[in-house]
């Protein structure tokens, strides 16, 4: 994955800082709760949402199981339709291919459709090193680019910015921004529109990703809201699309499912304003498809983790995540933040850095993400599985081993409880070491003098048979009815 976040500290450290930023928390809360509400409303309209979700999951699983076959079919169909297919094993290879293709056109500027895959591989930076300037044309992506900033949300990369900040940024960084620019959304959009219009008219090369690829016909599909993507996809002479290999769908018919799942989950709309589809190259134009692996095949090899490849990047899981809402997107140190990032990044990048190792723990396992995911990715289960694969701190390992030893014999547990009961007055109000994380903001409960099991035995309760104390009689019949 892209090197842009390299060297960031572990998630808890980043999050601790973000939590203190009240403006950020306010922006994020407002934005995520608004989209969350819209999503819930439009999803609630469909009686067959559960079936759609099941279908989405099944289609993706089927495709992933037969990925080899569908990829070759895709290549064949695109080639037939006049496009050229390139295979990229990793980010470096993909970047090399794209840079070469751009250079072959003789251009030094490209316009870009919002794309997660090109962010993932750090394409803009790689092109810059080759003397090629890439202009983001999605409004939010443009804001991130102008601010030399990192994206913090999949759908709304500049979700951490408010209007006033955007206005300042435009005035400072955007060529031709009117001096009297206000922070009205309309005025900001108009300024960006004028700026981008020029880019569209001048651009000879465009770079995109894709939401879906249809193997049956070799068609690529992009869903968007602004129409800027459509401009890039149609005007320039050369189009280069970088697409993760998991974006495949077998057939046109499958779009019936995904064109319902994606907009409703993503922007909370019944249908997105612009859906562009293209197959190969139109006359007089050139089309290149770069199929990107970059760690995906190794994710596919993992029995539990592979479900992450079903993801359609709708960002519904981000919008409901209580941790994302408070920690913000940057804390995840990846272009994929939130719950999906917490399971995807460590799988794509490995868990060699403190940051990547901390990601599977960036969740309270509340399950809100799984509940909204339109392709039913059981994110909590993948998180737990990844935790099992991560290297554990030594003190924690010792603690867990000790707890396991105690729990493996009930007599040991009883002894430990009695010891705790006797020591209960000695427990300090503030705990030392890592456990101070508990007592920094919370009181400890009073430790009882007697555990439940000791009470049971003292009361004459036998071991797993009839308790000596007789039951206290039945309730009158009428009150037992529902």
């Amino acid at each position: 994955m892209s090197g842009t976040f390299v060297g960031m500290p572990a998630f808890p450290k980043n999050a601790a800082k973000a939590v203190q930023n009240s403006q950020l928390r306010f922006n994020l809360r407002k934005a995520t709760h608004t989209i969350r509400g819209k999503r819930a409303a439009v999803v609630g309209e469909l009686d067959d949402w559960a079936e759609l979700r099941e279908a989405g999951k099944a289609i993706k699983d089927h495709t992933l199981r037969n990925l080899d076959r569908y990829l070759l079919q895709m290549e064949e169909k695109v080639t037939e339709a006049g496009g050229t297919v390139h295979w990229a094993r990793d980010a470096a290879e993909a970047n090399r291919i794209v840079a070469r293709l751009v250079k072959e056109t003789g251009e030094t500027e490209v316009v870009k459709v919002k794309s997660m895959a090109t962010m993932e591989i750090g394409l803009n930076e790689a092109l810059a090193e080759e003397g090629i300037e890439a202009f983001e044309t999605d409004l939010a992506e443009l804001i991130v680019q102008l601010g030399d900033d990192f994206p913090s949300h999949i759908l709304v990369p500049a979700i951490h910015r408010n209007r006033a900040e955007i206005r300042e940024l435009f005035l400072k960084k955007m060529a031709g921004a009117p001096k009297d620019l206000t922070d009205e959304p309309r005025a900001l959009a108009e300024a960006a529109r004028l700026y981008l219009r020029q880019r569209f008219l001048e651009a000879k090369v465009a770079i995109s990703g894709a939401n879906f690829m249809i193997a049956e016909t070799g068609t690529l599909v992009v869903l968007e809201s602004e129409g800027n993507g459509r401009m890039c996809l149609t005007l320039p002479k050369t189009l280069i699309s970088v697409v993760g290999i998991e974006k495949l769908l077998p057939a046109w018919q499958d779009l019936e499912v995904f064109l319902q799942l994606l907009p409703r989950s993503s922007t909370g709309e019944r249908m997105n304003p612009y859906t562009s589809m293209w197959t190969g190259a139109t006359e007089g134009q050139e089309f290149h498809l770069v199929l990107l692996d970059n760690g995906r095949t190794s994710v596919l090899a993992d029995k539990v983790g592979r479900q992450a490849l079903r993801c359609i990047r709708c960002s519904a899981c981000l919008n409901v995540c209580p941790v994302y809402e408070r920690a913000g997107g940057h804390s995840y140190g990846s272009v994929y933040p939130g719950p999906i990032g917490a399971i995807l990044t460590p799988q794509l990048r490995g868990m060699d850095t403190p940051l990547d190792r901390s990601l599977p723990y960036a969740s309270s396992l509340c399950g809100a993400c799984y509940e909204v995911c339109p392709v039913a990715i059981d994110i909590p289960s993948v998180l737990v599985d990844l935790r099992g694969k991560a290297r554990h701190p030594r003190t924690e390992k010792a603690g867990m081993a000790a707890a396991g030893w105690v729990f493996n014999r009930s007599k040991r547990l009883a002894k430990a409880q009695r010891f705790g009961g006797r020591m209960r007055r000695l427990v300090p109000k503030r705990l030392p070491g890592p456990l101070s994380g508990w007592t920094d903001t919370r009181d400890l409960p009073d430790i009882p003098a007697e555990s439940f099991r000791d009470w049971w035995v003292r009361e004459g309760g036998a071991d797993g048979r009839r308790p000596a104390v007789p039951p206290v009689g039945n309730l009158p019949q009428e009150s037992r009815k529902k």
């Binding site: 808890p12 729990f407 919370r442 009181d443 035995v457 071991d463 206290v472």
Partner: protein
């Protein structure tokens, strides 16, 4: 029907009152509940912290301990969810039938009026694993609504996680505390005297913060409210 109580390690050690209340309540409803002393922990903490092998050992131990029971009742949504939802992922066989207390009352005993009396203003936090893991739905609030004297007030943002999450509360203390602060803000808005939930782990976290802030709001497990009667009322 042979019914066993799975008290859970946290309740056994820190909240025996919840266990006593569950036993009292079940006996009052005519259930001769048993307590196999060999029980310890379901393995949730180990699994969720990334110690799968240890968790599998404890899961197997659990399954052996409760073999032969028709129903195992646990006064903890997350431990019940661990057994029901996670054990199959751990390839555990012959998993005993585990119910959260409210499920057992409503689905097995088919009661919602358990004859309880609790004259206080109460708000209910559904807890994530009861809500999204077990999907207990309205069962707990249906039970609370039938308690005489009890005024149930809705909790704003009820479905949002309180930020406990086991070791999450320690590993990501800042985010956890921020989540809890928002939960408590919502609890305070209700004006309730008591915050009720069906999981003492979440209550340990929320209650510990409420106490630190000297808020005056008490936390109580669902079992303890349902076990209260006119005679036991303060």
């Amino acid at each position: 029907m042979r019914v066993a109580l799975f008290i859970t390690c946290v309740n056994d050690t820190l909240f025996p009152g919840t266990g006593k209340a569950a036993v009292g309540l079940l006996r009052r409803l005519g259930v001769d509940v048993e307590f196999p002393l060999a029980q310890t922990c379901c393995g949730q903490m180990h699994l969720n912290t990334g110690y799968r092998d240890e968790a599998v050992k404890l899961a197997n131990r659990f399954t052996e301990t409760f073999a032969g029971y028709d129903a195992v009742v646990a006064p903890s949504g997350s431990c019940a969810a661990m057994v029901r939802e996670q054990y199959p992922h751990l390839d555990i066989e012959d998993i005993p039938k585990v119910y959260d207390l409210s499920e057992f009352l409503v689905d097995v005993l088919k009661v919602t009026d358990v004859g309880a009396y609790f004259p206080h203003k109460v708000t209910y936090h559904p807890t994530c694993h009861s809500l999204r893991g077990l999907k207990v739905g309205d069962r707990p609030t249906d039970l609370l609504k039938m308690v005489r004297g009890l005024e149930l007030v809705p909790l704003p943002g009820a479905e949002e996680c309180c930020g406990f999450g086991g070791t999450f509360a320690v590993k990501n203390r800042d985010v956890s505390a921020a989540m809890c602060a928002d939960k408590i803000g919502n609890v305070m808005k209700t004006g309730a005297e008591v915050l009720c939930a069906a999981d003492n782990s979440c209550l340990l976290h929320i209650g510990g913060t409420l106490r630190r802030q000297k808020s005056g709001v008490r936390v109580l497990h669902l079992a303890e409210i349902l076990a209260s009667t006119e005679e036991s009322a303060e």
